[in-house]
């Protein structure tokens, strides 16, 4: 018997202000000669695309292991990393697939030589093993605005991406006490404890609603990558990736990279 959890993520007022400010200045210094309003219609405010910027991670309260974890592999689409936040336990191997019709050159300063800039053609995949806990920023030399975050943290058992309205759900969960953490750009912006009961009734499905707060006000998230992470980076052709086994979790548990 198994049960599940449903929830909703909301952006509080403070978080919205934080996001608007960040959208205006950007995480990278955006430099240009001109950015002027069109003079016909008022410009639209920046939109928080939850399905792209938010990751919801589930942790067991009494079990630090990540048994049964299945990682999410992001792809490069529209010159963005989708989803923008990937949460995984240590020794996870993450694949980055280039779905754009043009070349990217991904790298991570936090990984240093383990993930150096390298041309990645359309439909090509690079993968890297993240050994140590930490937050790793992945960037691209040809599209420097591109930013993806890989959060390596102990105890994570499942990760979901909300829809545009912030709704999410976890199914087939073991009963027990859980902690739900909301990640935005690698930082924890909200968390809540949830108890899942052993029931198959709809009314017993745990309901949770989490309001996001700016990272400084939210619970402490995992620390920044220490740069000492050992990992293995490989680039694969699309056909090779297609042949990979469905169950990648087994290999992830072994802490080895895939071939």
């Amino acid at each position: 018997m198994a049960s599940g959890m449903k929830g909703k993520v909301k952006a509080g007022e403070e978080f919205q202000q934080y996001f608007n400010k960040q959208a205006k200045t950007g995480t990278e210094k955006l430099d240009f000669y001109w950015e002027v309003e069109n003079g016909v219609l008022p410009v639209l405010p920046p939109v928080l695309e939850m399905e792209q910027r938010i990751a919801i991670a589930l942790f067991r309260k009494d079990d630090p292991s990540s048994t049964g974890f299945v990682p999410v592999h992001p792809e490069i689409f529209g010159a963005r990393v989708v989803p923008g936040v990937v949460v995984a336990p240590p020794k996870s191997t993450i694949k980055f697939h280039n779905a754009d019709p043009f070349v990217h050159e991904l790298y991570s300063d936090d990984l240093g030589k383990l993930f150096p800039p390298e041309l990645q053609s359309s439909q090509q995949t690079r993968q890297v093993q993240f050994t140590n806990p930490g937050v790793y920023r992945v960037s691209c030399r040809t599209t420097p605005h591109l930013a993806g975050y890989v959060v390596i943290v102990e105890g994570v058992v499942a990760v979901k991406t909300p829809d545009a309205e912030g709704n999410f759900s976890f199914e087939e969960m073991d009963p027990g006490d859980y902690i739900v953490k909301i990640y935005f750009d690698g930082s924890v912006v909200g968390e809540k404890a949830v108890t899942v009961v052993d029931s198959d009734k709809e009314k017993d499905i745990a309901q949770v609603e989490i309001e996001m707060k700016p990272p400084a006000l939210a619970a402490d998230g995992p620390g920044k990558g220490d740069g000492k992470t050992s990992g293995k980076v490989e680039t694969k052709a699309p056909e090779d990736v297609a042949k990979e086994p469905e169950d990648q979790g087994k290999d992830e548990k072994k802490g080895k990279g895939e071939k």
Binding site: L44, F77, G78, A79, H145
Partner: protein, 573 residues
């Protein structure tokens, strides 16, 4: 002499100044070239930034042609109504592409090399320039696209498949709503380098990933002939790459701010010989995303090389310039010629002419035209020389006269030393070594016959010189001096006349005259020297010598002793 000295001093100064100019001017000129090149390049950099900014604005403005095109707006609105699974293809896409191409052709120099039309989600609906059949992929992640679909006009720079593009975007508004955006891209290639080079009159080089992709040297303009004459050459891509890699990209300002300081680099000359060619380089990273890919533009100015005399003479352009400056050169030549003439005149007046005059004077003196040099005919150094010559002559005459008189026979030489037993005879009277003026009487009147001497009363007169020897012989040597005896009467025994002068008076007069003249010549005073006194003393001494030596006659000679007139008596047997 002052003028010639001054002229020589002036000449020395001119030569020194010329030497200093020759040595220092090339250094100063080269330093001036470096500084001026640096200043100009700083202005170039400012101008380059302004040009890039205005060019970005021009590109943004050019996108309005697409944004207001009815076909573009219509088809973009249609694409936005498609479901996510549907793709904008077929006839509608062809019609949209045709409209885009037409508008793009009308833009002329601002035509896009690549153009995207994206819907309100940032998905490409159509594109021209590259992969024109591509669509359906997203550009939403680009800040340029995100800004444009929200209503901003913006510029940016992209690196797409390794090629740098300068981008501009504008929203497309249809029926009061945002329907998407037009993304306009122009390649950063030789055309842009030409524009930047023309705007700054400097060499412009575009680079991506730290390597030059295109470089353009400025086209020659009016007045650039002088630059060519100054040896201005432009570095090639290899030299620029080396300079960028070694000096510019390591510059702190470049890594932090994207704008390097001015860096001075060197390269081998094209000929492989001669001095290294120096050039200033400054680099700017492109504003926008391409910045991250080490893409930017460098502007270069070569420091003009120093011109040697040979190059100056051989350069035809410089010759033409020389011809135009002939008037000034003529003036300089005339002034130099005048200065040379003045110098020669001064040397003649103060050097050659006095020398020749002195020589003529000396030759005249040698030809007995004068015994001494007239010092008042000379000036300065020559006057001193003439005076020294005169003094030398005087000294020589004195020596000669002294020598001549010292060699003549004297009484002492003949009779032996005075007061000794060896002396042949002892005169009855004492011949003073010097005859006092008071002892000599004035000369007689030789025109009348001589009168017999009458006894005269004794007259007071100065004593004759007294020596130690004479004091012994004199009766009152130790006591008070008695009055001198009266002149003695003519000698009983007449003095034998000489062969030529039988008349003793004539002889006395001659001796007196000689003595008188010698004293005058020696500059002695002749006051009180009378013939009567002189004659009386002479006669007295003569009689004394007669008595002692029993000689037939006594010869008196006048001579100069120690610069004074003296008289010597020599007995003749």
């Amino acid at each position: 002499m002052f003028a010639s000295k001054f002229w020589n001093f002036l000449l020395a100064i001119i030569i020194t100044v010329l030497a200093v100019i020759i040595l220092l001017v090339p250094v100063s000129v080269n330093e001036s070239h470096v500084q001026s090149t640096r200043s100009i390049l700083l202005k170039d950099r400012t101008q380059l930034e302004a040009v890039l900014k205005m060019e970005a604005r021009a590109r943004i403005d050019s996108t309005i042609a697409f944004a207001v095109d009815p076909e573009v707006r219509k088809y973009l609105a249609m694409a936005n109504r498609f479901k996510p699974t549907e793709k904008f293809t077929g006839e509608e896409q062809d019609a949209l592409l045709a409209s885009l191409r037409k508008v793009n052709e009308n833009l002329g120099p601002m035509a896009a090399d690549i153009l995207f039309v994206v819907d309100k989600k940032g998905t490409v609906v159509a594109q021209i320039g590259e992969n024109e059949r591509s669509s359906g992929y997203s550009l939403r992640g680009f800040p340029l696209v995100d800004s444009a679909i929200r209503g901003y006009l913006r510029d940016d720079t992209w690196i797409r498949d390794g090629k740098p593009y300068r981008m501009a975007a504008r929203p497309v508004i249809h029926q009061g709503t945002y329907e998407g955006a037009v993304i306009h891209g122009m390649r950063m290639d030789r055309k842009l380098a030409e524009v930047l080079s023309a705007a700054t009159h400097a060499q412009a080089a575009l680079f991506v990933d730290g390597l030059v992709t295109d470089s353009v040297a400025p086209k020659p303009q009016a007045g650039d002939e002088e630059k060519e004459a100054q040896g201005v050459t432009f570095p090639g891509d290899n030299a620029i790459n080396r300079c960028l890699g070694e000096s510019v990209f390591t510059d702190e300002n470049y890594t932090k701010k994207g704008r390097s300081n001015l860096v001075l680099c060197e390269m081998e000359p094209e000929s492989g010989k001669g001095e290294m060619v120096r050039f200033f380089v400054t680099a700017l990273k492109f504003v926008g995303e391409a910045r991250n890919k080490d893409a930017g533009v460098a502007i270069i100015r070569t420091v003009p090389q120093g011109i040697t005399v040979e190059q100056f003479i051989r350069a035809p352009e410089r010759r033409a310039e020389l011809a135009s400056r002939k008037g000034m050169l003529g003036v300089i030549g005339a002034v130099a010629f005048f200065l040379i003439l003045v110098g020669l005149l001064v040397v003649y007046l103060e050097g050659d002419r006095p020398k020749s005059r002195f020589l003529a004077e000396v030759e005249g003196m040698a030809a007995r035209e004068g015994e001494r040099l007239n010092i008042y005919r000379f000036r300065g150094k020559y006057r001193k020389i003439a005076d020294a010559v005169n003094r030398a002559i005087d000294n020589a005459v004195k020596v000669l006269v002294s020598k001549a008189t010292s060699d003549a026979p004297t009484v002492d030489k003949i009779l032996g030393p005075k007061g000794t037993v060896e002396r042949l005879s002892q005169p009855q009277f004492q011949i003073p070594e010097k005859i006092s003026l008071d002892d000599i009487a004035p000369p007689p009147d030789l025109s009348s016959p001589p009168k017999p001497e009458a006894p005269r009363p004794p007259a007071p007169r100065p004593e004759p010189p007294v020596t130690a020897e004479t004091q012994k012989d004199m009766p009152h040597a130790a006591g008070p001096k008695p009055p001198l005896p009266a002149p003695r009467p003519p000698a009983a025994k007449p003095m034998p006349p000489s062969k030529k002068e039988q008349d003793p008076e004539t002889r006395y007069a001659r001796i007196y005259k000689e003595f008188f003249d010698t004293k005058t010549t020696c500059g002695e005073s002749t006051e009180g020297l009378t013939y009567e006194r002189f004659r009386a003393t002479l006669k007295k001494q003569e009689e004394a010598i007669f008595e002692r030596t029993k000689c037939s006659s006594v010869d008196f000679r006048v001579y100069v002793k120690e610069g004074k007139a003296a008289l010597k008596a020599t007995p003749v047997k």
